[in-house]
Symmetry: D2
Subunit: 337 residues, 4 copies
């Protein structure tokens, strides 16, 4: 089976490179209507074949799967065509531009019995896999909150706000780590230079008073990529800018002692050791590529399947709606469908 990568801009060549060294892949075919991008990528990655058009890709029977690294607005039309042509599909994050589009991709893939996967790269990093493991094993206890900051001096996009650019990373991590269904979303932001928001704060509410919050910002003088997760037993900090100890787990928390005779609960805090687990440094994208191929062969569902992608898009759309509405709380149930 060969794999076609559509779009050879910023991220496409990384996908080409990784699929070129993925077991079970017999060839990688690149396609992009822009001649300069195509040439530049071919020069760097001479093992990549080229196709002249997307139609050629869809027609070729040696190509079993399509990877979309195009602008967001093209995900749905190109993705639907690929699925209709019987190709397995991997889509750059976010999966689609609206919840409805994402749902249509999920449904068509199910009907055609094809693998649909979304490139939530961070889910495959050693750091996030370790965090998931610690949450699943109960080491952190019950999750109390998830707080994320992703800010830097950013390249302004000409077709979307900062939420669609930066938040998919952190929302996909949240979606993977927190095993609960979010119920509502609120977002406030500001635009200073054109019509698109260049900074925003998103809150996602879960049952049982669990709250997730995201600060995304293209106007920060310093680059911060930091997630705090508070649990009843342990708390952790994931700082992606740290060269070595990216994940630190603190034996810190709050002990609640019920006191019968008193009207108030006694709350004390507890502070102990800190622990930074060794993390696997395998390139996340190579693990993702291997999982895509493995799922195609076995029919197994990918970790970041279409439904993960849909969940993230629903929050993005609700957040954008809330932004326009000055932070009005949007209930997620059936939103955008």
């Amino acid at each position: 089976m060969k794999i076609a990568v559509v779009g050879l801009g910023y991220w496409g060549p990384n996908l080409v490179r990784n699929f070129l060294s993925t077991e079970g892949v017999e060839g990688v075919v690149g396609v992009d209507s822009r001649e300069r991008q195509t040439e530049r990528t071919k020069k760097k990655l001479p093992m990549m074949e080229l196709a002249h058009s997307y139609q050629e890709v869809l027609r070729r029977t040696d190509i079993g799967a399509v990877v979309l690294a195009t602008p967001i607005s093209a995900h749905h039309p190109l993705g639907m065509e690929a699925l209709r042509a019987g190709k397995h599909l991997l889509v750059e994050k976010p999966l689609a531009a609206t919840t409805r589009e994402a749902q249509e991709l999920v449904e068509l893939a199910r009907k055609m019995n094809l693998t649909l996967m979304v490139d939530h790269t961070f889910v495959y990093t050693g750091a996030v896999r370790k965090i998931k493991e610690m949450v699943s094993s109960g080491r952190l206890g019950d999750i109390l909150y998830f707080d994320s900051v992703r800010v830097n001096l950013g390249l302004f996009q000409h077709d979307s706000n900062v939420i669609w650019d930066l938040a998919p990373h952190d929302l996909s991590i949240m979606e993977y780590v927190i095993d609960k269904k979010p119920v509502a979303v609120s977002a406030l932001g500001a635009n200073h230079f054109n019509e698109y928001e260049d900074m925003a704060y998103i809150s996602v509410l879960f049952p049982d008073n669990v709250i997730a919050h995201f600060h995304v910002n293209w106007l920060s003088p310093v680059k911060v990529r930091k997630i705090l997760i508070g649990g009843t037993r342990h708390m952790l900090v994931y700082d992606d800018m740290e060269p070595s100890e990216k994940v630190k787990v603190y034996d810190k928390g709050v002990d609640v002692k019920s006191q019968e005779s008193l009207y108030e609960t006694l709350i004390q805090y507890r502070t102990g050791d800190m622990f930074a687990p060794h993390l696997d440094h395998t390139e996340a994208l190579s693990l993702l590529a291997a999982e895509f191929v493995r799922c195609i062969k076995t029919g197994k569902k990918p970790t970041t399947d279409g439904t993960s992608g849909l969940n993230v898009v629903r929050i993005l759309e609700a957040a954008s709606q809330s932004l326009k509405d000055q932070g009005r709380l949007i209930q997620l149930d059936d939103f955008g469908g």
Copy 2:
């Protein structure tokens, strides 16, 4: 003139110590109904006189000013009595428990022609004074946003949520630095152990798309006290946990070039030197004490006068209201008065 400090718990002794070495103060009189607190403070600060009751303080003519370091709920009743007794008044932050209470204090002080000051300590630190200077001089350009994080593993209060405990610090800095009137407030939070929120996110909206945002949290494994301020010319980071370079100014920003023939604006970012100004290390509280005494003598308005205190209380009350209402945007105009 002598000064009476009411409440010798955690913060009161700091106020006593500073007023003891403030020029123009002839004596400091401490008072607290709790015997143990009184004794402990007297032992550490033997130069402090003691009064037996608040009524004695109000009666004594050698005492010209009262400093309240009591629980928030006592600020208004004790403060009103002090003003009625003709004493100048310095109140621990926040000024009062409600906007209406704060207004009454402000009005009575004005009517009585007495100095009313609020202890927004951070405003007197070398770091915040330097920031104010850079904003006022135009060095930062127009302010675009103000983002604050103040989180740690915190002592749970038994009578208030995390907003009233931690946010006054950052709101008072914002109030001092941003020379605009905020128009609306929204807040979302969560409580996990008792009825009071232990973490919250507050947004404050200003005209011209300027936004301020505050993360306050008693459940963080790490202590963070960091403020980002984005301006059109420069941006700055104020990290109060840094031992030496607390304020860093970045020659970074966004250049907007209007292009007549194109429908879109060209936005580019610019990156240059970083600069960490030398900061004055004088203890903030000693500057505040000196300013209080100077204002009493000259009739000049303190930097952190009653109106500053009222502005902060109004936002705190609106934020609490919004918290109860799941983040509903509260208009500040006339709110709480």
Copy 3:
């Protein structure tokens, strides 16, 4: 038993304060020939009694122990008098100005059967006690090296070089942690403003290729207090400038595999988790004060006894000798005695 603290300059008042709250101490008597220092200390610590002269201290039978916080050159004469007068003795670091002086103090204390202790404060910190525990328990494996950096923009001393000012801290930690007898010392340094070296590098050689190294410097723009200890099983970093995680233990090291058929040994490195143990935050000086009193009562040898002090002074003297001799290696056996 009362305790006399001699010298109320920079460090003396800290000793007074700690002994005032040490169990078993019935009173603390301060003495200093400089009136201003005496008055200032008395004002801050009114519970402290005053003596008019050192002779009075030696004569008084209610005073059982003397604590010397004087300039180094006074340690030996005052200390010898105290021991002769039958007083137990605690001496500020370094114990004396020469090895011979230190030996005389150790010998006289032994002959008089009195407790002699040196104030190697760092040995009593939570961080250093934890490090000692990890070394003793074998957790670090065999120690390979000890590397220390203690630099800052320093107050120039008028009577000694940077070695005698800064290195005693780190040498006392080394002396406590490494259970081996050093064999040789070498030091290189430079003086730029007066006759005393303002920066220096000291190497201390142990048997089995174990090496300790110290960088002390009064001309550094940044403050660094960092010790690396390499062991065969684990390695650690002790960074005293870190607000919380001062000690970090790394599961990193080198595995040596002997390979019979090959002429060379295969050396591979190993990298695993990092661990920051919770540290006791009790003030080091209060533990030291308690130990002094306990040792006086029980006759037990203090952790930092006269011999520890002597060991440190011998290295300081050898390093000073090497400094003058452009780094010539000085054998420690019998040096300076």
Copy 4:
């Protein structure tokens, strides 16, 4: 002109890649006797031509220059052959295995009127060029000391100690930045796993009490690459592990005031702003490649010419000698020649 890169191991491919995009280079020819290295490099860099042998390289008239990225021991024999064949020469650091070898290369290049350059890459980084600029312009004042730490958990070499592996980087920076001739060298170190030292401390003495010191270590659990430079007017820290502000300049120092009537000089320290200049991020190796080509064409002397390489090798050899001699101070005048 074409350029031949000899040795396609770890560093060679970087040189190939950079020369492939250097103006004035008509082709890059790679050669390595190890088939696997050659194939792997050809696959990644298909624009590179291949030669079958070094002899072919020397014979070919289209090849004007040779770049040696071989083990150190081959630098001299291969380099001498290249110069004899009339090729310009760029050699990986260190220039040669002994001072005598380095001298022979320098002399032959001079006689043949060929460009001889050494790959002291760090000299071409934005950070080091900025440091040089600040030293040259007098901004730092007179240099007082140069302190370097380069430690990590390192790959053990099978044919040399840690000095020859790590110290050339920092010695070449020192050689570039300090405009003085060093007079003596001392080094102490230890080997723990085989015959080669895995950690060492090197001191380099200059006239006027200027001292440089280097800590190199393969057994550190943390990676540190930090240089402190103390000057009479300013001091700086160059931390290569910092993602953005690698160079920080401190307006800190020491003011010396001569006081006629007093026997002692008054030394006070001064502390002011900190400044982190914006650094050029151009890849150092591409600047080095461009300079090599430019010097070949113009006959100009490269910044890191043969003499720079010789100066570094002389210190390395003297340090190795001192290591064997337990830190004996080696005078550099005529050493090793």
